[in-house]
Amino acid sequence: MPTYLLFDVGSTYTKGCIVDIDQERILAQASALTTATTDISIGIQAVKDRMMDVLSKVTIDQTLACSSAKGGLKMVAVGLVPDLTLKAATLACYSAGAKVIQAYSFMLNDHEIKQIEDSGCDLLLLTGGTDGGNRDVVLHNASKLSKLNRKFPILYAGNKSCQDDIRAILSAGGFDITICPNVMPVYGVLEVEECRDKIRDLFLSTIVKAKGLSELNSLIKEIVLPTPYSVMEALKLLSSGTKSESGIGDLMAVDIGGATTDVYSMNKQFVVKDNVGYKGLKEPLQKRSVEGDLGVRFNAHSVYELKADEVDDEGMKDYVQEIEEGKIDSFDTQKDSRLAAWCCEIACQRHAGRMETSYTPMGVGYYQSGKDLRDVRVMIGIGGPILHSKNPVEILKKALTQKAHPEILLPLEIEAYLDRNYVVSCLGLLAHRHPDEVLRLLKRNVEKLNDE
């Protein structure tokens, strides 16, 4: 079986590793700091240099990469009702590893159309209506979109009864239109899998090229997935296991970066406790959320702003100011850890479901919306800020349910784990090719931390 050279490019650290599938070993791994502005190939070269010892001795059968370069996969989501098809569309984008840069509901107006034109999106997901349901809004939206000057791929995953009309309207407008099954075929039922596959295919077939990741020159054909998609594949495998080997069960993971914070939750079952009513769409068992305003570098300031009311710390204020102005020459690990802890806390709170208590004439009633994660124990930390922290457990503990917010359904206890060697995103690239081997590699490399 082959030996692979794997890369994760485009974020603050460029990561690479060499994996020998036969021996189930990671022969080498390295990372290199890359600023957002530097050429991606510089980071790749730096990582290769660091693995040169091994690289010069082995034969690489295949090189594969995942990428979040140039802002990652930027999508616009369009739906009908905010809590229904728009929510379904957004969850589909997230689970495909995309960032939702704009989201619209109901009939698009000229102002919104203009915003979409200017958004610089890589792909637009158009939804609306259950199968056999509302047609008017999605048809209106398609004809509005068809008149845009800037062309980008459009994926339609709305009311199936309009598929042919939508295809006709958008192709006539010069758009590259792909059709897939409805993300909400019947009321309240979410079906993201096929949509997710189609987004990945489009990423591979057109978006990588369209994004002009040309500085990657020789590597461009190796980019097969958006980075978060790859992370998701790795976490799914680690959680559910394979036919021949069991996974570690339900888990959560938080991936903190310079600009964004991603949270993942993988569950076998959708938990709704006894005597609790459920409201709205049932979210995916394998869910990803991404927070575009939470990160320790490009968003340090916005993180601080969210916390400013609670913290009274001039040091932090000055620190984020310096980061914002780019005046900093040496980053402070302790302060970065505080920022990371805030990112973890806020992002996990946004990811988790809510329990609403309603006081009715009939007494107290409970309604849940979103995922109940109170029984999840495994909490995996991914990404530089957690990895480089002196106390990663403390950061991850911010994902616990807080006394002041029992309505936010986060874990009651956690066991902290760490992606110590930066390999989760790379290993996800092989999750489908070599599931058993990759599962064991993941189990060995995702390290359990002791409480300090």
């Binding site: 009908l80 349901g133 009321y187 409201k279 309604y367």
Partner: protein, 137 residues
């Protein structure tokens, strides 16, 4: 021909589930595409579901006696959302045995097209619905 979609559910904090099941069954038998929101349904859920599914009618049940409080504003919410639906309500709308004409009047003012007294047969509701839909078409 595509089936006509209708949305049904028990409004408010009401958990009486048996009648709701019977209504779902009867409406399906009568040839409708039924979107059943179940029990403890909020006004927003009725409206959202009707928009996405392009429903032609919303059939609200209230069994526990707090129907008036729960239903207030639903008619306006439908109008606000641009929905053109028939709005029916039935069950035990108010506590105890009040004069039904008064109750009916109140609910009609709230925007309901038809209001049914306790113990009404759902088959009557279905006959009325078919006639009303035909009249609208």
């Amino acid at each position: 021909m595509e089936k006509t979609t209708i949305v049904i559910g028990v409004i408010g904090a009401d958990v009486h589930a048996v009648g709701n099941r019977i209504i779902e069954y009867a409406m399906n038998q009568a040839g409708f595409n039924v979107v059943n929101l179940g029990v403890m349904v909020s006004q927003k859920e009725f409206v959202d579901a009707a928009i996405e599914t392009n429903a032609k009618a919303i059939i609200v049940s209230s069994l526990y006696g707090h129907g008036e409080l729960d239903c207030r504003g639903l008619g306006d919410a439908c109008k606000e959302a641009g929905l053109d639906v028939l709005l029916y309500v039935g069950g035990n709308l108010v506590v105890g045995k009040s004069d039904f004409e008064v109750v009916e009047e109140k609910f009609k003012k709230m925007g309901f097209d038809r209001v049914y007294p306790p113990g009404s047969d759902i088959e009557q509701g279905i006959r009325d619905l078919m006639a009303d839909l035909k009249n609208k078409a």
